[in-house]
């Protein structure tokens, strides 16, 4: 039995780094959006640079992904699951990029200064001031965050399904380095 090739080290580092960042971000976001303190300001101040870091990493990762094909899915995986895998990954990439942009855009439309670090380094607005757009994007930010969280849960469940139920090489392709011969 030839072991299936793993994701490259670059792909794995990006995956696990972003996994930690995105999960932290979702928890920080949900907590702060319902909170009025005492950690509120600190969390909001962390949320912005972390979101921008995720945006930059997601764009790098998308570029890398388009140039480096991932290991193929097992041949015996039913077509419907292959389709689900492909579709959910496209959606994950879309949300990783869309959520920070919606966050940046909503603060722009709300007329908020957008401090990236401390209160001296500001991001420029990416949308003109428009309170209705701010309100709409603020709601969209919540809906998209919940969608991303749901998708992350499905993603984790699917990875464990591969690892524990099907016991194929899919989970290991992201956890271990395997020699491809």
């Amino acid at each position: 039995m030839t072991p299936a090739p793993s994701f490259s080290p670059v792909a794995r580092v990006l995956h696990w780094l972003m996994a930690v960042m995105i999960l932290s971000m979702l928890f920080i976001g949900l907590f702060m959006a319902s909170s009025v303190g005492p950690g509120y300001h600190r969390l909001v101040s962390l949320h912005r640079p972390l979101g921008i870091a995720i945006l930059v990493l997601a764009l790098l990762r998308l570029t890398y992904r388009l140039r480096h094909a991932p290991p193929p899915l097992p041949d015996d995986l039913p077509a419907v699951l292959k389709l689900a895998a492909k579709g959910s990954h496209i959606l994950l990439y879309a949300l990783m990029i869309a959520l920070p942009l919606v966050g940046w855009g909503m603060l722009s439309a709300g007329g908020y200064p957008i401090p990236l670090w401390g209160n001296g380094v500001l991001l420029p607005p990416i949308l003109p001031h428009n309170p209705a757009v701010w309100s709409w994007l603020r709601s969209a930010h919540t809906v998209l965050a919940f969608t991303l969280f749901g998708l992350v849960l499905v993603h984790i469940g699917a990875a464990l399904f591969h690892g524990l139920i099907r016991r194929d090489a899919v989970l290991e392709s992201m956890t271990h380095r395997k020699r491809s011969e």
Binding site: V36, N130, L153
Partner: protein, 364 residues
């Protein structure tokens, strides 16, 4: 290699393994959102309490709903530049957009001198990040933390039978919050001025100023009127008389305030806006605010913004006063709600803020 298990219990365990991690994360996520802590004071809970206390909503601010926009400038004296590196404390003619309002949540409420009055400002230096400040006229805030605020809002809930807050609930709030008694009494005994122009507006919360060398100084500040102060007169005519007087004043002459910083002394509570500070604290005259134009909120420059007191420039940072964070979060929520709603006309219409051309022609 591990032998493939065939027993149904092993299989069930594996499926449990598949479900456990996502379930644990989902649990944590809902915990973070407050689903399992019904007593936590959240942004939505404060909005609901304001609604139950008669806040009008429908596109208006959840509190301080009736207001007008003003513009002008701030000229620093330079005296505060040694304690804060903020551009505002050394520059001249910093553009200012502001808003005067009544503290109530009803945009069509009749003016009453006893209602809390507020001044909110955006200082917008050309070459530095802006600073937003929202101030009220009572000298202290009779609320110490998020729980106090929530308890207070709940105590103001309108009784459906009378359409007014239940006096018993208000008394109960006082009785169960004895630590706020001194602040409430201080505010009750304040001198109520005749209008917006001769009023003093207080930062309420404390902030830390950061000097060029990193030294931090805890301060509160007040905008002290340069107009002569007259006490409110009992005979008050018209639903909008406070605003009409402000508009008339601004069309007649610019209004000015001195920005006075009060430096915390060794015994002053920086983290509790309900505590008064010592009378002999050092003060710094930071500069002069001059306001010279007034506009209705309908189309005015102050409407589509929130005066979040944590929008701060380099040189000013939040203190550990918990009310600051509460205001920041609650203002954001109120701003998001009202910006998505259809808004009716403001009580103070564009026609009312026009220069009284007809009258001045008659006079001349």
């Amino acid at each position: 290699m591990v032998a493939k298990s065939t027993g149904p219990s092993r299989s069930a365990l594996r499926w449990l393994g598949v479900a456990a991690a996502p379930a644990a994360l989902a649990f944590g996520f809902f915990w973070a959102g407050g689903w399992f802590s019904p007593n936590r004071v959240t942004q939505n809970r404060l909005m609901a309490e304001l609604h139950d206390a008669g806040s009008y909503g429908h596109g208006f601010r959840r509190a301080h709903a009736k207001g007008v926009c003003v513009t002008g400038r701030f000229d620093a004296s330079g005296a505060a530049a040694s304690v804060s590196k903020a551009a505002i404390f050394r520059e001249q003619s910093v553009p200012v957009v502001g808003r005067f309002a009544l503290g109530a949540g009803q945009p069509y409420v009749a003016d009453n001198p006893a209602t809390v009055r507020s001044m909110a400002l955006r200082f917008m230096p050309k070459d530095a990040p802006e600073w937003r400040a929202a101030m009220n006229d009572p000298p202290v805030l009779p609320l110490r933390d998020a729980q106090d605020v929530s308890d207070f809002f709940s105590s103001q809930r309108l009784d459906p039978a009378t359409g007014k807050p239940d006096p018993a609930r208000i008394r109960a709030f006082g009785a169960t919050h004895p630590w706020l008694k001194a602040a409430a009494e201080k505010n009750a005994h304040r001198v109520v001025s005749s209008g917006f122009a001769d009023d003093t507006y207080h930062s309420l919360d404390s902030f830390l100023l950061v000097a060029e060398n990193g030294t931090k100084t805890a301060v509160r500040w007040a905008m002290v009127p340069m107009q002569p102060v007259a006490p409110a007169d009992a005979a008050t005519a018209g639903r909008d008389h406070l605003f009409q007087r402000l508009i008339a004043d601004l069309h007649d002459h610019p209004l000015q305030w001195r920005m006075v910083l009060t430096v915390a002394g060794p015994h002053d509570a920086v983290n509790d806006p309900s505590q008064s500070w010592a009378q002999d604290d050092r003060t710094i005259e930071a500069g002069t605010l001059t306001l010279d134009t007034v506009e209705s909120e309908d189309g005015g420059p102050c409407t589509g913004f929130t005066f979040d007191p944590l929008i701060l420039p380099p040189g000013i940072i939040p203190s550990d006063d918990p009310i600051l964070q509460l205001r920041s979060g609650a203002y954001m929520r109120s701003f998001a709600l009202r910006s998505g709603e259809k808004r009716g006309p403001s009580a103070i219409t564009p026609a009312m803020t026009q220069a009284p051309a007809a009258e001045s022609e008659k006079k001349s």
